[in-house]
């Protein structure tokens, strides 16, 4: 280091002539002298965060970019990245692609995520009706739509774009794949975020629907209509619980709810002070008369079982039907003495499938089924199975769908695939490259 005096004056400490007897262990590099390192990176990223907070305070939440603005923004990012190649020897581009800046940016991203993980957030952002408090005015309760995040997001995009172009090398495939993939993903998710559409449509069984209702109560007509021809629900066997007759509360041991799973492989078991035995199990049952269940073909709406329960301390035995309920009938319990009821819990869904016919404005007609994990693609829209009337169970009279349109989807997918390949590369060649 040649310029110690200068460094000290820059940092505002009194200039001291170093004496020879006093060894200088760490020569200080003056701030803002190229090449910029960790202190400069932290100041730059910190200023971006501060500037973001100020912008949020004065301008309100960060407005999402919409087509074609988003397209121009993405193209602009590409142009800037290419320009960085021309200026690759400049100090600024070297700084932009330096490891210290990446550490500062990743730290800032981690910090914002940490804040989001610790405090409740409004995601996705909805403008509130009442006047904003200071936390909201700084964007801290809706960070995903805030200027501070937008500022470091933009810096990250600039850094990654420059990095991929300037450090392009086929000899570092994992490095290239992770960073290019991340850049694509961040552009699709962030710049393209405003072009995503999500609507929720409820369709009655046997009915045709083409309108959606927003949470704000506004009704919107969609370019496609869904006819729900059939809704099917398959359930797992229910579990049994002991309920206190007078309080209606389930019995617990050490605060843990006690349940016994109905299982045709293991027909004997224990619940509380009772030995239970499964004598008969009807997964598709219907009630006939007062207290008699039969297998109902093709589809019963409830599940029923005959259970024998023996109270271990007294030896008293009870036997009878228990069943799940549906919209118009409460579940049937088995009385175990004065105080206890043996009841079936609401069974958990195994599968739910909507048999639909979809009509589009262009005259397309598609007949198919939709279930969780198996969405249906119709033109630019993906239709996802969302929910059903869970109180009614198999008797649900409607099915809920989520309709999603995202013109940036291919770019996001490309990013995800590249990042996955790069991450796999990191695992396979974890030794790293020679320095």
């Amino acid at each position: 280091m040649t310029n110690i005096t200068n460094a000290n004056t820059l940092e505002g400490s009194p200039a001291e002539t170093p004496s020879l007897s006093q060894p200088i262990s760490k020569p200080r590099r003056p701030l803002w002298r190229w090449p910029w390192g960790y202190p400069e990176s932290m100041i730059v990223v910190g200023s971006a965060l501060m500037g973001g907070l100020a912008a949020e305070w004065w301008l309100g939440p960060f407005p999402p970019l919409v087509w074609p603005g988003s397209l121009f923004a993405a193209l602009g990012l590409v142009v800037i990245a290419l320009a960085c190649w021309l200026a690759r020897r400049s100090r600024l581009v070297r700084f932009l692609t330096s490891a210290p800046l990446s550490v500062a940016l990743i730290s800032a991203m981690g910090l914002v995520s940490l804040l989001m993980g610790l405090t409740p957030q409004i995601v996705p952002y909805q403008p509130p009706s009442e006047p904003l408090g200071p936390v909201a005015r700084l964007g801290l309760n809706h960070l995903t739509a805030s200027w501070p995040l937008a500022a470091i997001y933009l810096m990250t995009l600039l850094a990654l774009g420059a990095l991929v172009v300037v450090r392009f090398s086929s000899r570092r495939p994992a490095f290239m794949a992770t960073h290019l993939g991340l850049w694509l993903l961040l552009v699709a998710a962030g710049v393209g975020g405003g072009d995503r559409a999500r609507e929720i449509m409820l369709v009655p069984e046997g009915g045709l629907e083409w309108r959606v209702k927003r949470t704000e109560g506004q009704i919107l007509e969609m370019p496609l209509a869904i006819r729900l021809d059939d809704f099917q629900l398959e359930e797992y066997p229910p579990r049994l619980a002991l309920i206190n007759h007078s309080t209606g509360q389930p019995q617990t041991t050490d605060g843990q709810l006690q349940l016994w799973q109905i299982d045709t492989l293991e027909t004997r078991g224990q619940l509380g002070e009772f030995d239970l035995e499964l004598l008969k199990y009807l997964p598709d049952a219907a009630l006939i008369g007062q207290d008699e269940y039969v297998r109902a073909v093709p589809k019963g709406l409830i599940q029923a079982a005959i259970i024998k329960a023996t109270h271990r301390p007294t030896g008293a035995t009870y036997q009878g039907w228990v069943s799940t309920g549906e919209s118009f009938r409460a579940p049937q319990p088995l009385k175990l003495g004065e105080h206890l009821l043996l009841t079936m819990t609401r069974p958990e869904p195994r599968r739910y499938i909507s048999q639909v016919k979809v009509f589009t404005k262009e005259g397309l007609e598609i007949e198919d089924s939709i279930e969780v994990n198996h969405p249906l693609k119709v033109g630019a829209w993906y239709i996802y199975q969302r929910n059903y009337d869970s109180n009614a169970g198999r008797a649900s009279s409607w099915s809920g769908f989520e309709l999603v349109k995202d013109p940036w989807l291919p770019m996001a997918n490309a990013g995800l695939i590249l990042m996955s390949l790069g991450s796999a590369g990191l695992v396979i060649r974890s030794r790293g490259r020679a320095k």
Binding site: P120, Q121, T144
Partner: protein
Amino acid sequence: MSWSWHDYLAPLSVALWVLGALMAIKTKPRPAFWLTVAGTLVTGLFIAGLWLRLERPPMRTMGETRLWYSFFLSGAGALVYARRRFTWLLIFGCLLASVFAIINVVKPELHSKALMPALQSPFFIPHVISYMLSYAVLAASALASAIQLRKISASGEPDKNLDDFIDSLVRSGLGLLMLGLLTGAIWAKQAWGHYWSWDPKETWAMVTAATFLIYIHLRRAPPRGAGRKLALAVPLLGLVMLMITWLGVSYLPAAMGSVHIY
């Protein structure tokens, strides 16, 4: 094989792991390796039996993920020990695997065959396995960093071999963590139509990934002076974040209504 078998098989695994660790301390590498592997295989056998019995991958409940964590920790500990003779790693793997096996015995959970429809996806298994593997590897990286920090304070010099080992642990652990994150995102898109919804578990996984990413990028340009020590503290911080992600998220106020609470 139902959960009741665990009451017998878990103590057997724990006994084998403890013996394996003792052999490693006495520098008897062969018995140390084989005893540990035997413990791992017993746990693996139980996982397989449970899988068949439940007719679904046993990866849904906290207790079930603990089984996998025990399996991977002891298995990875033994494999690395066979190649590199890191006694501390074997002991650490066996110890932690035993702790999680014992938790499963002391704190049994309700078991159920039910697998909600969203979980019935080809991404379910790679998602959980890459997370559990990465947790095991990243926990080891944190321990290795702690050991390196002690070596530096004792002798002033880092152990070069250990340095390389930490780097490769963090790289493979982070790669697996990213794979868990990415398969989760692709799967969420399939199931619900959104890659990422800032669910608390997702947010904390992001914080964890960011912490280990800092380590990798910090190593590209080691800061001067205390820089190496600072970098070595990062995996330790990462382990804290990881434990919050895995075990602690359910208790956070921000986690109300998370899809990942189980």
